[in-house]
Subunit: 517 residues, 2 copies
C-alpha cells in the first residue's frame, strides 16, 4: 500500500510484514515497494542507509516515508523517515550565476517553496567575470580557492535558509544546481581551463548525481547533489534548466527562448527538435556600458516615455526613488522612444534639432540629457553619449542577427514562432513593444513574448518537484543541436542591415510607426 504524490520524489509506504511465507530481506521488501510506487525497474540503497534500515523498519512498524531520486534511469533511495515525522524532506534549488547566486528551499513532500535567498557569488573577489576566474583557476591552488569560495558561500546560505525555514541542514536531502558550464566546473572542483581554450573542451557534460560530501557540502549525510548537464562549453546547465522551465521542449508548436546577458543564448524548437546558439550581444543590454548604465535596482530607470507632442520625458524608476542610473530595459525604452519621437534617426544618430534643450555637442560627440542635476539622486545630470547609443544599437543588431540566423538555419519564419520566452532579469523588465520598435526582436504580436523570470532557478526547482523532470532534462540534453555561429560575410551583411532602426528593411517591422517631424 502506498500513499504517493502523483509525480513527486517522496512516498509513504506501508510494507507487508515479514513472515515465514514472505521472508524477503529488509532491503528487498522496501525496494520492491519502492519500485512499485515510483514505477522503477530497480532502486539502489546506500550502505549507510541499509545499516539503519532493520531497526527503523521495526520501530516504525513497517510504515516508512521515502525520498528517492532518479539519476538518469538509476533510481536511488536517498532518505527515510517515520511516516509521522513533522519535518519534511527538503531540497535546495540553486541558480549558480557568475555574479549572483540564488537558492530556493523546497519542501520535497509538497513541492512548495519554503524560502529563498540570494547572495553575490563570492568568487567575485577573484574576478568579476568568468574568464578572470578560469585564468586564476590555472594558478597554484587557484581552483581549490575558487571552489572553496563558492562551496562555502553555498553552505553558509543554505544553513541560513534552513534557519529561516525552521529546519536544519541535516533535513536537506537533495541539491539541484543550475549554472553555466564554467560555474558548474568550479563548483564541482573540476579544472575549467579547457572550456575557454580551443577546441573548447569541458571536463564533463552530464555529471549526474553526486554525494554532497564529495562536493564539500555538509547536509544530510546521505544527501545528493544533481548538477544540470551542459551541452558543451558554451551551452550550460542554466540554459537546459531554462528550457525545462519554459516547457518549450514539450510543445508541438515552435517556440524560442532567449536568455540575454553578456552573451545572448537562444534556443529554437519544439518537442521534436531543439537548436541552440549563443553569441556576443554586448554588455549594453545588461546596462553595463555607459557611466549611468547599471543593473536593475531601486532608483534605476526602467521605463521611459517621451510625449510625442510636448517632447516631455516621463521617467519611471524602480521603487519610485530619485533616478541614479538606467538599466538595460530602460535603455531599450529610451532608445525606442528617442527613435519613435524623432530624436534619433534611422541610423541611430541623435538629431539635435529635434530636441535642442536635451541634445548637445561635446568634444566626444553628441550627448543626451536624460535627467537634470536637480532631479537626479546623485546631484549630477544623467546623460548618455552617441557612443553609448551606438553600442546599444550594435548589441540590438547582434541580437536580431542571431535570431535571424538561427531561424534561417532551421528554415522557419519568425511568424512560425508561437511563443518567444525571454529569460533572466532582463526578461522580467523588458517591454517587448520597445524592443520591437528598435528592431531588436522580431515584429510579432506582443502576447507572443513571455517573460520567464529566473528560469535557471525555476528549472532547478522543477527538478526537485517533479519526477518526470529528470527524463525531460535528459531528453533536452540528448536532443539539442548546438549551432556554431559562423561570423561570415552573410552574417556581417545581416548585422549591417540590422544596425538601422528598426532595420534597413522597414517591411520587417510593419507595426513600428515612427513620428516623422
Amino acid at each position: 500500500m502506498t500513499d504517493s504524490p502523483a509525480n513527486g520524489w517522496t512516498a509513504t509506504l506501508h510494507l507487508s510484514k515479514p513472515s515465514l511465507a514472505d521472508n524477503r530481506a529488509d532491503a528487498d521488501r522496501l525496494k520492491n515497494a519502492l519500485m512499485e510506487a515510483f514505477v522503477a525497474e530497480s532502486i539502489d540503497i546506500d550502505i549507510a542507509l541499509l545499516r539503519r534500515l532493520p531497526t527503523l523498519l521495526r520501530q516504525w512498524d513497517y510504515a516508512v516515508r521515502c525520498f528517492c531520486f532518479n539519476d538518469y534511469g538509476r533510481w536511488r533511495l536517498l532518505g527515510i523517515k517515520a511516516p509521522d515525522d513533522s519535518v519534511p524532506f527538503a531540497g535546495i534549488a540553486v541558480d549558480l550565476g557568475t555574479t549572483r547566486v540564488v537558492l530556493r528551499l523546497i519542501n520535497l513532500d509538497t513541492g512548495e517553496k519554503m524560502t529563498e535567498r540570494a547572495f553575490d557569488n563570492p568568487q567575485i573577489e577573484i574576478g568579476p567575470d568568468i574568464l578572470a576566474r578560469i585564468h586564476f583557476g590555472g594558478t597554484e591552488n587557484g581552483l581549490q580557492r575558487l571552489n572553496r569560495l563558492i562551496v562555502e558561500g553555498l553552505q553558509t546560505n543554505i544553513e541560513q535558509a534552513c534557519l529561516d525555514a525552521g529546519i536544519s541542514k541535516e533535513d536537506i536531502y537533495l541539491v539541484a544546481v543550475s549554472g553555466n558550464t564554467s560555474m558548474a566546473h568550479l563548483f564541482m572542483n573540476l579544472p575549467p581551463a579547457g572550456i575557454i581554450r580551443e577546441p573548447y573542451i569541458p571536463v564533463v557534460n552530464r555529471p549526474g548525481l553526486m554525494t554532497a560530501n564529495a562536493l564539500g557540502l555538509e547536509l544530510h549525510p546521505n544527501a545528493g547533489v544533481f548538477v544540470l548537464p551542459n551541452a558543451g562549453s558554451y551551452f550550460g546547465g542554466d540554459l537546459i534548466s531554462g528550457i525545462l522551465y519554459s516547457g518549450l521542449h514539450e510543445n508541438g508548436e515552435i517556440a524560442m527562448l532567449v536568455d540575454v546577458g553578456t552573451n545572448a543564448e537562444v534556443v529554437l524548437g519544439n518537442r521534436d527538435w531543439l537548436v541552440a546558439c549563443a553569441g556576443a550581444a554586448g554588455p549594453a543590454l545588461e546596462g553595463g556600458v555607459s557611466p549611468v548604465g547599471m543593473t536593475a535596482g531601486p532608483g534605476v530607470i526602467d521605463q521611459v516615455k517621451i510625449d510625442p507632442e510636448s517632447g516631455r520625458f516621463d521617467i519611471h524608476t524602480i521603487s519610485d526613488q530619485a533616478p541614479k542610473g538606467i538599466c538595460g530595459s530602460g535603455m531599450i525604452d529610451l532608445v525606442a522612444q528617442l527613435f519613435l519621437s524623432g530624436l534619433l534617426d534611422v541610423r541611430g544618430r541623435l538629431v539635435p534639432e529635434a530636441a535642442p534643450e536635451r541634445i548637445y555637442e561635446t568634444d566626444d560627440g553628441r550627448r543626451l540629457l536624460i535627467v537634470g542635476a536637480d532631479a537626479s539622486a546623485t546631484g549630477e545630470a544623467l546623460t548618455i553619449g552617441q557612443a553609448d547609443l551606438d553600442s546599444l544599437i550594435r548589441s540590438k543588431a547582434a541580437m536580431y542577427t542571431i535570431l535571424e540566423t538561427i531561424t534561417r538555419y532551421v528554415g522557419v519564419e519568425f511568424a512560425d514562432i508561437s511563443t518567444f520566452y525571454v529569460a533572466g532579469t532582463f526578461g522580467s523588465f523588458i517591454r517587448p513593444r520597445s524592443a520591437i520598435s528598435i528592431g531588436m526582436i522580431p515584429d510579432l504580436p506582443e502576447n507572443t513574448y513571455q517573460s520567464l523570470g529566473n528560469s535557471s532557478l525555476g528549472g532547478a526547482a522543477r527538478l526537485l518537484q517533479s519526477r518526470s523532470a529528470v527524463s525531460s532534462i535528459d531528453r533536452i540534453y540528448q536532443n539539442i543541436t548546438y549551432l556554431e555561429l559562423n561570423v561570415n560575410q552573410e552574417f556581417m551583411n545581416r548585422f549591417s542591415a540590422a544596425k538601422f532602426l528598426p532595420h534597413t528593411e522597414a517591411s520587417h517591422f510593419p507595426s513600428v510607426k515612427r513620428r516623422v517631424n
Copy 2:
C-alpha cells in the same frame, strides 16, 4: 582504438584527440571509448576521478589504461593509469569463512594470482561459531566490535599480501567478498539479528558494489568492494560463489554441488534451473566430534586402510608426521574400512570378535584403538568410542537423506547426475570410494565426483578475472530456488533407512562389497 583482454575488467584505450570538429567533453571522450571496449550502454565516472582526468589525459597523450566494473548492469570506471605504468591494477578475492579467512591477490590485467594468505577469523575471540557472534552483535557496541575485528583483520592481511607481492594497498581497486549471509552482514556492519530469528530476515541479499571507504577499508581511494549476493538467510554468497566456480549453472547436464561443514549445503541443477537446500549434517564430518577429531593439518590422519587378510591398519597422516588426531575424511575412510573388513556391522556397531586386540569394552561402551601410545605424536593411544562412530553415522545418514530429498523433490535420479562437485577442505581430502562405502553419497562412478577445493574463494577470484562473472552471479541469484527441508515423517523414514551401512536397501549400493567373516 582499444587493446583489451577478451573478457577481463581492464583495457588500454587510445582516444582520438580533441579538435574543433570533435569537441566532446573529456568524460564523454573516455566514456564513449569505454562503452565500446566493454560493450556497455553507459559507464559512470566518479567525481574524484573526473577531477584528475583532464590533466592526466593530456599528460598521457590520450592513451589510458582503465579498470571498469559492471555492478549488475551499471558500469563504473574505478581506475585509470598511464598505459606504460608497470604496476598492475590489483584486486583481492576473499573467502570470508566463519573460522578461516583466505584472500588471494589478483592481477586484474592478466587475471593471474599474485599471492595468497589465510588467517583465522579474528571474530573467534568473540565466539567460535556464528550464533555466538550474532548474539554478541545484539549487545551494546557488539556489532561495531565484530565489524572492526574482521575489517581490521582484512586490512592487515591485505597490506601484508601487497607487501609480499611488491605492490601497495593503493594499488588495490576491487575486493570481491564471498561469505555466508551472517559473515557478509558482519563485514558490512549490518545488524545480523534477523538472520537467525524467525522468520529469518537478512538486511540485504544483493548489496552490489560499495566503496571500500564506506566499509572501512583503506585501499585505492576509489576502490570498490563487491559482496557476493546471498539468496536468503541460509544460502550465502559463498555458495553462489561456489556455483559460479563449479560452472554447474552453465551446463546442459544435471550436476550437484555439495559443500560440507556443520551444515551440508547442496545445489542441484543445470543451466536452466537450480535448486538448493541446506541441512544439519553434524559436526562429525568436520572432524569436530571425538577427542581425537580435528581439522586437516600436519600429523592428522587423512587416510586409513585395513588389510583384509591380516587386519593390519595402514595409516597415513598429512605431511607423514606422527599421528595426533583424525580429520573428517580420515574418519570416513576409517569407518568405511572398519565396515568393509567386518569390524563394524551394518548397524555401525563395533564387532569385538572381529578384532579383539583393537576393540575393547569400557564403562562408556566399546572403543577402538586406532594408534597405540608408542606410535602416536601425543604419547597417548588414539582411540574412538562407539558414540563417536554413531555420531558420524548419523551425519552420513543426514547427508544422504538430504541428497535423496532434493533429488526426489526435483524428480531426478542419482544416475541422472553427470557431475558431483564436492566443495571445501572436506572435498579436497575425501575419497569418494570410502564415502560411497558407508552410504554417505550415492553409488555413482568415482569419476562423477570432483573436488573443487575452496570454491568460495575460487568464485570470488573468478569475479575479478572475468567480466561475464557478474551476469553469471546474477543469473544464479535470480534462478535459484531454495528448498526448505521439511523434517517430516517421510524425511525421518529416509533418515532411519540411511543409518545402516551402507543403507537398508543394499541394492542402492551395488558396488559396495563387504567382506563377511
